[in-house]
Symmetry: C2
Subunit: 301 residues, 2 copies
Amino acid sequence: MLPFSRVTVIGLGLIGSSVARAIRASLPTVRVTGHDADPAVRARSRDLGFAHDITDQAGTAVLDADLVLLCVPVGAIGAAAADIAADLPADAIVSDVGGSKVSVAAALRAALPHAIIVPGHPVAGTENSGPDAGFATLFAGRWCILTPDADTPPVATARVRAFWESLGAQVEEMTAHHHDLVLAVTSHVPHLIAYSIVGTASDLEQVTESEVIKYSAGGFRDFTRIAASDPTMWRDVFLNNREAVLEILQRLTEDVTMLQRAIRWGDGDTLFDLFSRTRAIRRGILEQGQDDPRADFGRAH
Amino acid sequence: MLPFSRVTVIGLGLIGSSVARAIRASLPTVRVTGHDADPAVRARSRDLGFAHDITDQAGTAVLDADLVLLCVPVGAIGAAAADIAADLPADAIVSDVGGSKVSVAAALRAALPHAIIVPGHPVAGTENSGPDAGFATLFAGRWCILTPDADTPPVATARVRAFWESLGAQVEEMTAHHHDLVLAVTSHVPHLIAYSIVGTASDLEQVTESEVIKYSAGGFRDFTRIAASDPTMWRDVFLNNREAVLEILQRLTEDVTMLQRAIRWGDGDTLFDLFSRTRAIRRGILEQGQDDPRADFGRAH
């Protein structure tokens, strides 16, 4: 059974355009309508042809939708929801793909007080942005987290779950608060550290940017991929998941300070113990199919 | 012209076995002799067949060598050099592949006071270890840094340069001190942070290890690859490049603290400015062929 027949995607960047492409690939009878606030993105999306229709107005896009998926940066989600409020069918389900969920749930509820809302977050992406960056298999084998609350009808959650599963994702439910803590660990703080380390490297007086680039294969280049992710999206994530990010960052800082002390005092055992322990998590990730098992992510050598 | 005719590789892990394989592939007339302190690694290396001969004693391996390449963790380099001291031909060149160069130069000079020494460091690797992990193209397009000092005959440096170039690497020369600072930025601190973040994540009470693994595609999994690197090698790097690592770590800590403050105070402009600036370095790395240009490192999706 089709979970939805007419899906509207608002925001046609990496994630939104990937959702549209995935629907076309996996649910070919579903009608896909798209809208983006940026006229250039709308024009490009029409050329790429991943939606049946791209509307100039957000309201027009949702008129007959049974699922509306908001794929905009989390700081813009309240405004995007307000833009569709007047035209949203009463029985349409509104969901999203935002990386923070407590703030998104509040913004959606404020803008759409009577709508059926199932906040969601597919944990997938690449460093590229925009409608050209999307692809149909982005969600295959990845996890999508739904954070229904007391106001969410279980049947609506079940339909959104079925939708993501039909795109190849695995689905888990948890509270918005727990989501924000989990993602602070697995995504937000790693991104912050990656951005930071690339910034630190480019600001050094003693080492040139050209040297940083030439010798980046020693490990640094891995961080530069993440640090090339969309600046607006990530600014919004940090401003909207402040508490959890600061909590995890504080933990990380303590742990780094401990390693700093071990290096200063020549305490090789502390270093060796940690460096041995961290291999187990990598094994778990590979065993569960959450990374490419080839050496060096399968990079060309 | 062949830079060397008889190369001996001491230490047959990822790097040593890759050097041996690269010589066989690119310099098929060169005789390759290998030795490893671990009998199991010697046995496995004989099975893999990447050297013409694997000797049980280090001294035997170097008897007729014109290049001896020490491919052991930097903490073991003094002992490895001492093991070959009695048998080393007077005109043989000794080099290495260690990730710290000030300490290595001192250890080599102390163990081999009269030898011709050209310290080196090919900036290449994967997260895998041992003789099975090596491959012939590991150094293709990567940079190899040589750190000759006042005692190094320029002709010896030129031969080692030609050797690495024949394996497909690009070669740069700099002082050992500058090398250690550059690598602290481009390799050592990124590894320390990756190990640390994986350790922090696995120690949290509120988020289970299973959750960390499931949702790792949000960015965390990138760090786990680096944090799966060889613990002995990396312990030794940190103990042997203490000052430069602590200096760069201090800079990074200041920068992270600044971001932490920006998040706490809701200063989106500071975040956005940094997140925009860091994209330029990624572009430089891709333009100079130092990373795979495909999205997400070319990971399978």
